[in-house]
Symmetry: D3
Subunit: 283 residues, 6 copies
Amino acid sequence: MSLAANLSSKWITVSETHPHVLHAELSRAPVNAFSSELWAEYGGLMDRITHEGRDVRALVLSSALPKVFTAGIDIADLGAGAPAADDARKSLATHTHLKEFQHAIGSPERCPFPVIAAVHGLVIGLGIDIISACDIRLAAEGTQFTIKEVDVGLAADIGTLAYLPKISGNASLMRELAYTARMFSAEEALRLGLLSNVVAGGREGVVRAALDLAAVIAQKSPVAVSGTKRILTHSRDHSVAQNLEYTAAWNAGALQTADIPESLRAAKARSQPVFAPLRKSKL
Amino acid sequence: MSLAANLSSKWITVSETHPHVLHAELSRAPVNAFSSELWAEYGGLMDRITHEGRDVRALVLSSALPKVFTAGIDIADLGAGAPAADDARKSLATHTHLKEFQHAIGSPERCPFPVIAAVHGLVIGLGIDIISACDIRLAAEGTQFTIKEVDVGLAADIGTLAYLPKISGNASLMRELAYTARMFSAEEALRLGLLSNVVAGGREGVVRAALDLAAVIAQKSPVAVSGTKRILTHSRDHSVAQNLEYTAAWNAGALQTADIPESLRAAKARSQPVFAPLRKSKL
Amino acid sequence: MSLAANLSSKWITVSETHPHVLHAELSRAPVNAFSSELWAEYGGLMDRITHEGRDVRALVLSSALPKVFTAGIDIADLGAGAPAADDARKSLATHTHLKEFQHAIGSPERCPFPVIAAVHGLVIGLGIDIISACDIRLAAEGTQFTIKEVDVGLAADIGTLAYLPKISGNASLMRELAYTARMFSAEEALRLGLLSNVVAGGREGVVRAALDLAAVIAQKSPVAVSGTKRILTHSRDHSVAQNLEYTAAWNAGALQTADIPESLRAAKARSQPVFAPLRKSKL
Amino acid sequence: MSLAANLSSKWITVSETHPHVLHAELSRAPVNAFSSELWAEYGGLMDRITHEGRDVRALVLSSALPKVFTAGIDIADLGAGAPAADDARKSLATHTHLKEFQHAIGSPERCPFPVIAAVHGLVIGLGIDIISACDIRLAAEGTQFTIKEVDVGLAADIGTLAYLPKISGNASLMRELAYTARMFSAEEALRLGLLSNVVAGGREGVVRAALDLAAVIAQKSPVAVSGTKRILTHSRDHSVAQNLEYTAAWNAGALQTADIPESLRAAKARSQPVFAPLRKSKL
Amino acid sequence: MSLAANLSSKWITVSETHPHVLHAELSRAPVNAFSSELWAEYGGLMDRITHEGRDVRALVLSSALPKVFTAGIDIADLGAGAPAADDARKSLATHTHLKEFQHAIGSPERCPFPVIAAVHGLVIGLGIDIISACDIRLAAEGTQFTIKEVDVGLAADIGTLAYLPKISGNASLMRELAYTARMFSAEEALRLGLLSNVVAGGREGVVRAALDLAAVIAQKSPVAVSGTKRILTHSRDHSVAQNLEYTAAWNAGALQTADIPESLRAAKARSQPVFAPLRKSKL
Amino acid sequence: MSLAANLSSKWITVSETHPHVLHAELSRAPVNAFSSELWAEYGGLMDRITHEGRDVRALVLSSALPKVFTAGIDIADLGAGAPAADDARKSLATHTHLKEFQHAIGSPERCPFPVIAAVHGLVIGLGIDIISACDIRLAAEGTQFTIKEVDVGLAADIGTLAYLPKISGNASLMRELAYTARMFSAEEALRLGLLSNVVAGGREGVVRAALDLAAVIAQKSPVAVSGTKRILTHSRDHSVAQNLEYTAAWNAGALQTADIPESLRAAKARSQPVFAPLRKSKL
């Protein structure tokens, strides 16, 4: 059965563009506003791919809409909230809601393969949370970003502020953008260290670049790539000494892989190596 | 009573330039050398504003002297030290002194509003500690910086080495600058990730840019901005997972703010939102 | 006895180029492949200098080969592994081996003086681990880098993934390079935040620049430089508050140094200060 | 609908013994061996109660079998493991399996109400992991415990070794028990700090004591109890300073509860306070 | 001037019972209820002694009332709270209030000398927070304790839950007590690991035992005792490896003390050693 | 070649008492005072056994002297210290010295097998550091302990203060003992949580009990025991969540051991299982 079979949902179209590569496109016109239903769909997609053990080795996330990646949270979802017996219970219900929301948007981190965000047009509010939790970020020339939350009266709480201090390289600029909610360009995002690269050719250009990158990654040993991802994520959150110990424990098992001799064999033969899936699919 | 009333002191002039915006200018001629008295005054100012609950929403720190932000610590303060009964007690007295000094210079981090450093001319030694503890750093073209401490025979101990690895983006350059005490330009500081931006127009130019930025921030919801500041500071020092949990706990209460409907109302009406102060002033 | 006496070994030549400055050159033709023997030699050199208390104040690491810094691990060392009674014991033996390997390559961090990597040509696989554990990284124009490990079927485990998230400033680019094993230029390494600078003049140029930098550092107070190094390393792995407390404890003793009055005296006299060695040599 | 409705499953019987109190009894004769199916059922029960927002305020876990709490993992589950393409993939599949297993057994920590383990007879291997993840542990006189894993050739990996150093008070005794797999009595478990208390009267006695304790807890404010649980769990894993900050953030919202005036009112009236459920049930 | 001069305040009487030993007695009849004013007084006392550099080497805290250590927070202080513009600002004001309250009650940890709590009668609610932040806890026979907060509808937030998991040795019993708010005896507190000892002789007995203990401590080197306190507090919140590094940095200076030769001299001479104050008093 | 061959040194006698069990006896009359030479010998012994891969599965440490385990550091070693150019260099030399000393005394933690301290008579000062770094502590009836350092004018810096907060269960008692340097009995040590047990029969009794315990451990799977040790040590210094992740990574490899089927086979056959050494000896 094909990799992408049955994965598409109401507002997310999933296709297999190269072997082991999935392309997930957001398409909730007019602006990909994230209602609770959409973010549940989004988190569910990533977790389902991971749980079912499909042999995905890279995934590209983009928007199918011509002018916008996402305008962020669906404003209709703000403020509502279930009625509660008192203010503390309202706070508690909010806490529970936020944890579920964070869990869904944080799903790329739980995938054993890299997730590449390829953005264009507008990337607003929740859009920054979404791409911050991905492994790699590419933007089309002309993309405009904004950490919009303060303009709505709140602090970003779904990942932006948790990730940015660790994935970018200029705390002064980061705070300026987070306090002002002003638009910033792809070039400024690059200077912030948020993006790998800015790509010409609009939406098509950035998606093509991301899929090409995904295709390269998909040819690598999945033991090597998934281990690299796991170790980098651990490294972000631990000291150098703690990470070296964890890495040694991890690779103690992972180095017993057949992918190493296969890689050496293929390099010598100047052929493409062939790697087994990470695990048996549950499908 | 005005925001800035009674805040000016011997060597720091405080004025209110825009609604909710304070401008604090260092003016201890000839070079803003920081004696114990000056840094106590500096830390005291920040803590007093915070404690009294004045409705400040952004503060700009700059120098009133034409050619220098600060030449750093007042050399007369070095080495002296109280007489002590033995070498260990001397060490202990030094430890106590350093903790007080760090506490004063670290005061911007304790403010519920952003502090923007707008520097020009020379930023030497303690000057780097001071701006590192601020939220945002802007420099005039031609500003010269130096992590001067090794030239005086010591390791920087008031914040520079604690902050730099977390607020900049090039550890190799950071270590080069810290080991050599060489001058570096605003452009190199930008490349290091220490600055948001380099601004033309000398002292006036950078101060104007900073005050404009402060004025923008001061129009935002103080619940949103102060929460963003607190969460970013927490994020710098904790793992992603720890920060997400903290953020959810924080926003569980903060999302009950009237600033959200007010923001939505004003956006729809294309008017400027009006926000209550964070808390009642003690004045 | 000279600083460099007796330090050269089979594949590493050590010379004293300026007072208190050592130059260590890798020369295992044709590509400085790191066999177990070479990395043991490398780690042993650093630890021996440190342990013997030689009055070294900076060390430059480079390659004596014209076209390559290092091609990385000696492929002959991969895969072999001692025979083991079962798979778990094989994992355990691998774990022990990795810890020793990490310990050797991590030796620059244990030196009380800065270690500057001056690279040119090719820097492949283990080469990135090696330079990541150094304090400062300079590259010649035209240098090509690659985090090669995924191409061999494994995750980098000797330091690259532990250090990169903390010493560079663009997590997106870092992950892209780690997942694809593609070559990247010195300019891209600079943008990543991996290098202080890119230097013209090929191997000679970058080595000269590194030695000049080392010579500058060697004229500074060794109490100040070694303290700065230790505190920056601590800062990388702890929170701002934890580091400020540690720094105060460290400087409580270190500020009792004669290097401070000597620095002030020399500055006033416009002469070069003279500093005692950090400790008595064991030689 | 009753609290316990629909919660019983193949091997776990759930009843409501007091208002807001559930009693979950393990009954997989002959020894409550935990197959994958049973631990999935166990974790699913806890998560389902939590997710559905049933107004549970305490849960007691015990065994319905006369002589044993649990003999631990079902030996049929050991060793099998899915076939894998190579040793590294086998390690990776094991890792995935362990994480799921840990997640299920760790479910009591995710409940907003206290979980009380009431044990008797034999508590072997996985039994220690299970009770360690609970809030409170009571044992009948004559209960025998053993950290059995080393006797099967492995280190306990589902929670015992993660929890014990933090929930008991004698590391020497803990290590002795973990290294030898010897049986230890309820009295020794009490001395280790593993149990609150040892209760007379066999299985009935300990279950009655646990249900009485649960009934007391169930009369308290659920805002207060769930907050206390959350904060204690945070405290276990963070420094005092980190926890105080988190606690302040948490209680900033939680103190707005109507349970405080209701508690004061009831205390003054010497009546039993009445508290609203934490949140609306999804049932 | 005497050590205790000017330290007594409205509800706290301070006397000097032995050389370098202070005795602080709470006496706000009828039950030492802690109003905001009292806890401010309490925190202020500790910080003032520390800041003024009085040569205090141990302090005993007890209650002057015959039947109670403290009934906890003054109920009049609960619930009130300043009026706020919206629920979020109310949460923020609560947060600020809690941080100040925690800061005051946490003051014993900031003192360079040990603080010994000597309790009798009733120790309720805030009383547990207060003694948890002290170094040593002694109780008279018959003392009754309760973590009362859940009975008032809230989670303890001034230190109890932050300290208990780190200073006691039975997490099961600790949680039972925190969830039920039931009274527990001195014997049970001893079993929990909360107390050093239970002392006969009622209030007089426990105070005498505490003062005797304080007198012993006051005869020791203040460099040694204050260093031990600081290192133990650090150890509680860091890993073993982190603490060993910090301890080495601390003792690098502290071992240069004249207290070592003086101790050796006195031991040889079988006389009482005489130690200089830690630092010059500011009085 | 026998396990113990060549391991005895000047003041430490090593013998093999049971298969895979070593007994190391301290015998530097009259009081096992630890000079630099002795602690180097001690650390060297442990590291040599570990490095050479001898098939040791448990080690018992005791004293050969009839009345004392150790009187602690050799007083002749105190205070001396190498001459240094200034006070800061003296501090730095002290720091280096302390790190080496800590490294030697911390060697039991680096062994892949449990180390059991069996003490009698007097355990003074450094003696507590030594046994705190061991896995298990047993004492003869009548043993007297003291954390002696404050009596010599210093804070314990070789492990006591780093380990005690994590391996015992009563912080109040621990601080009382550390601040007063008073003698405490084996019974009090047991109450502190420092010992597993107190054993009758004097030196012979406790040594016999420890060797019997070691013999039991030596019959277990070394994969299981060494993994348990490593995971417990990690658990002590990390959060529950961090440790569960590490444990899963570790056991992913370790569960592939032949010791599991061999354990099951032997259990079924009611015979003693036979396990391969952890790794090939280097001898």
